[in-house]
Symmetry: C2
Amino acid sequence: MKPRRSTIKDVARRAGVAVSTASLVLNSKGYVSAELRRKVLRAVEELDYVPNRSARALVGKSTGNIGFIVAQEHFSKVEPFYTKVLLGTEFEARQHDYYILLTTVPFSYRANALPRFITEQSVDGVICAGRMGDRYAAELVERGIPAVVVDYGFKTVRLPVINVDNVRGGFLATEHLLSLGHRRIAFLGGDAGHPSIASRLIGYREAFRERGIVVDERLIRADEPGTGTADGYNGTRNLLRTKEPFTALFACNDAMAIGALRALKESGIHIPLNVSLVGFDNIDLCFHIDPRLTSVHVPKEELGAQALKVLLAVIEKGSTAVTNTLIDPELIVRESSSRPGRT
Amino acid sequence: MKPRRSTIKDVARRAGVAVSTASLVLNSKGYVSAELRRKVLRAVEELDYVPNRSARALVGKSTGNIGFIVAQEHFSKVEPFYTKVLLGTEFEARQHDYYILLTTVPFSYRANALPRFITEQSVDGVICAGRMGDRYAAELVERGIPAVVVDYGFKTVRLPVINVDNVRGGFLATEHLLSLGHRRIAFLGGDAGHPSIASRLIGYREAFRERGIVVDERLIRADEPGTGTADGYNGTRNLLRTKEPFTALFACNDAMAIGALRALKESGIHIPLNVSLVGFDNIDLCFHIDPRLTSVHVPKEELGAQALKVLLAVIEKGSTAVTNTLIDPELIVRESSSRPGRT
DNA sequence: GTTGTGTATCGAAACGTTTCGATATTGGGC
DNA sequence: GCCCAATATCGAAACGTTTCGATACACAAC
């Protein structure tokens, strides 16, 4: 009932050629006459032959696997952000005949937490998704394993990066609010140490500068410990407590925006009549909350797909350049932003 | 800079033993004296040796990988349901030193869509997550590949199943509404061909029967094409159009409940004052919508973890029994359900 | 003293590939 | 008519493991 899988030897025998010739045909290498090639291919067909990946990996260097590393804390977040990135990677990988080995790691580096697939040499390269300890990246570089980073940028380790254009995104969000007539636009960023958030803030400032408007620094809040819903909630309450008037709020991601929304609602502030709200990421949730959230769309699947493409270039061409791939974001206007009303 | 990784030969040489002895030590097999064992382990330590997985897979039968198959259409759904299942599996897998090879397949079987990791023999077993074409399962069985199913049950193929107790869940939801005093409780199920939905409906009926109350069949709606937000919306509108009065609605999953919520709101029906609403799955969204949705919690991570455990039993013990593992659901009461008010 | 059994160690084969020579066979250029 | 390069094919080695005998030594049982 479970017939032994056929091997390249079976193919060779049936085609009446040497194993090495069959191998050449299968890999389109060297010189093989048209006739033998045909015979081999026929045998492959008849025997339903598929090369054994382990054997291939053993002799050659390629395993056909790509490791996808994401911090535990990120992957299980409310918004399936990295799931979508992963999905994009997986889809792209399938086109190139690669498989994805997924693993999560603790956020901060732990000595023995390095994914086993790296020490056991069962991946050709690695994609690091999102923020994680720099040491992870350092280890990868040290071992000479091809790697790229998506949606983050290590400070101390230089690796190719695939990211959404956060500066541009910050600009789009802010310019949207400015063009609606808002002038007092608060910026709600969590941990300003995160490069993406810093970039979004730069975009925020650029939008103001381009219009020759001076930013009121008191409206920039970037002192929460994290970037989750709770941080958005707390940050907004802190902001309200300062009594600084504002007619719009740009939260550095949707999770924080949702927290902000709750805080504002609780204070009897209507969205968007009293305060316009714009988020970042355009997670699915944006569409299901009330009011629907205006947000900067991040093409998550595309991030993942691009990451794989760049990684493959590193693997196959041995390219070692530290490239920086930027993906364009897009502003999605929904119900949470409008012209300023009475405050 | 990139030192060749050490092999078992290096270990053997350094320990002054034969390769085969080193292998015995590493696998805790056969007879090895305490002294040699110590020497070998020291050499392993000193050389930072890690066995090469490909070589192992080639000779032995174990690859140390588990395939996780989920239908494309499901994985990219709004709610990260299967992501959490996957997360549970991944976590459990790490404890047992297995890796997860993820792949998505088209919902309905296509001839050449069988994951490559199966044909290439790079997994020891497979977890099928959620509904997908029966042919996939049939192929697996035919090839004699250990497999289990989580959150679904194939009709024509017999495989071990890991599932939430849907009957119990349906019962809990309905009993909750009954105990609040509701009597006219609508059931909103999408595609009734799905075994989970059918089971939830059974639970619904049981709750009524236990109280000796007759179900009004006109309140059971299970004729939408799918189980998404849009189906919930349409189904609810159809239900409203029948003019059948009801004071509560049990949607067979949260996505449909959210669609229902929108439809009800649009008709000026207040939740929960006019109609109580209960969903199923307890996706994160439940907590972020207004009002917060009462739902039946499905321990998704646990489903994934259990699936792995059962699969490992099949792989390692060769157990071929068609088991049926049921996980207990739990009712989470939030704001969307209350005693019946004026209708 | 022979036989048997449990302990200990090792060499070699095997797993399914790819790749490196080795060896033929052409045919064109001279 | 000879040489060289291009074409074609093959056998064997190599990749890093595990596992299967083979061998050897104790020690107990008869």
